[in-house]
């Protein structure tokens, strides 16, 4: 009887494993092949276009890493789009007067500070992260608008724009370096450190984590601070690539980031996730964007298709959780 039980358990384990682990890669491959075939004469497959996709998705990928930590701990961060704008503007304004280093500190510092505020309210005042970050999303969208009276601030510091945007090292564009470095560190921290294990345990069963000696409030504070800091970095990347900062930066990224993370196999309710999956999810969303534009779809049609993809991803994610 024991062996029969084990057999069926292993069976369901195997099917769940396949679905969860490979759905993002299969989806990525399917969309890639679809566009490669449909757009074979429109330049989709050129090196220039493909590398453009990677460059354009770099900020979303960086934000997605933060959100994997947040969602794995059972929380959510809706404020990342607003943090991007505040950080980019803070950096742009500071660079103009005090130079590159001060600009980086201001940009990252703004992101980390907002993340700390989110985290403290969630961890110590015990407010739900959904409501806290919904509020700070609106609050800091307002702050970014009032910071410069809706004006765009140009970034002319070449060292900065090279480091965060158009530059390259060893022939590899800096945005790809940022992506590779962030993914590598994120993956290591998530999978191979005590902190990563405690984040997963907190999202999985906060009480079990707590009675096991894990400080659940500290974990909640940490993940939201990490998310704020990475959104700040994404703001610097936008400012570097576009050589300007404006309150509209990051405005539409939240949905894309959430979609990338969920498609990448991170569960909405916490306890399970993947950094590499989020990277592939992010590239998939970028590719989708790019392909739909090349196919000549209108902005509204693109939004509809993206929405449908997200719905499918959420359905798969929740179905798995309920089993």
């Amino acid at each position: 009887m024991t062996s029969a039980n084990t057999g069926t358990e292993m069976g369901s384990f195997a099917s769940r494993f396949n679905l969860q682990q490979y759905v993002v890669y299969l989806g990525f491959l399917a969309i890639f092949l679809f566009f490669a075939f449909m757009l074979r004469d429109s330049g989709f497959l050129t090196v220039r276009n493909l590398s453009n996709i990677v460059l354009q998705t770099a900020p979303v990928t960086i934000m997605a890493i933060g959100l994997v930590f947040v969602m794995s701990a059972g929380e959510i961060d809706l404020s990342i789009g607003s943090i991007v704008a505040v950080s980019a503007l803070a950096a742009a304004v500071t660079i103009a007067s005090y130079g590159m280093a001060a600009g980086i500190v201001a940009g990252l510092g703004a992101g980390i500070l907002i993340g700390l505020i989110n985290g403290a309210l969630v961890a110590y005042v015990r407010l739900p992260s959904f409501l806290v970050t919904l509020a700070t999303m609106g609050l800091f969208a307002g702050v970014s608008r009032s910071m410069t009276d809706l004006r765009s601030i140009s970034v002319t510091n070449e060292a900065f724009t090279g480091f965060f945007g158009s530059g390259s090292l060893l022939g590899v564009p800096s945005l790809i370096w940022w992506t590779v470095i962030a993914i590598t560190i994120g993956h290591l921290v998530y999978r191979e450190t005590r902190f990563g294990a405690h984040v997963l345990a907190t999202g999985d069963n906060a009480r079990a984590a707590s009675v096991s000696g894990i400080s659940v409030p500290k974990i909640r504070l940490a993940v939201l601070t990490i998310s704020g800091g990475l959104a700040g970095l994404a703001g610097l990347l936008y400012a570097g690539r576009l050589q300007a900062a404006k309150y509209t930066l990051g405005e539409t990224d939240l949905m894309t980031v959430i979609a990338a993370v969920i498609v990448g196999g991170t569960l909405l309710n916490g306890g399970k996730g993947s950094i590499v999956g989020a990277l592939v999810g992010s590239l998939m969303m970028g590719m989708l964007n790019n392909g739909l534009i090349l196919m000549g779809l209108s902005v509204s049609d693109q939004m509809i298709v993206r929405g449908l993809i997200i719905l499918t991803a959420v359905a798969v994610s929740l179905r798995d959780k309920s089993r």
Partner: protein
Amino acid sequence: MNPSAPILQLQDIRKHFGGLTAIENFSLEVFPGEIVALVGDNGAGKSTLVKIISGVHPPSSGTITIEGKPVTMSNATMGRAHGIEVVYQDLALADQQTVYMNMFLGREPLNRIGLLDRRRMIAETEKLVKELDVRIPSAHATIRDLSGGQRQGVAIARATHWASKLILLDEPTAALGVAETARVETIVQSLKQRNVGILIISHSLDQVFKLSDRICVLRRGKQIGVRETRKTDKNEIIAMITGLQQQ
């Protein structure tokens, strides 16, 4: 270590919550290799006692002595530091993590470069699971793919791995079926050889009589008495629990 010295000694433990007396004048000794059962009706104060012994709630007065040394504890981490582990009835396991990650939850070993030492966690989990005969597919299995009995087996294995002095089992089979209960009882029985003290809370008198060496009865926060299991019977214990017949 003197085998006849108690591993845990509670003396005149009292616990008030505001004006409410939860526990009054509770004294008990648990010896290494001994299973003591704590029985009593709902609200008798068993859960409060578990929390006091595990360090979650400090007692209002009285002393807790572990291996002859008086200790003060104000949270579960301090309890664990004194070698006391609790197996909760609602399984404090992280469902979507592997068996080995749960075994080391909150106390993960690190390798030389400061990363999780998975190899060590897996090896130690497999060794312990084999010793205790907890029948799970592998140390890599995810908790939610296990049956209730297997999960409780993992929870007991975890407590056993970390407890150097005392294991508290709070209704370990309350959520289990008949066959699974029998498995878990066998595992609990085997813990006696490990020379730690075992305190088990159970509603099942059959289980209490099957497993324990001594039985301690609580009623409305009062300690009614302690009996040696082989010198008493169910009728006496039931009378003590319900108070229908004063001893």
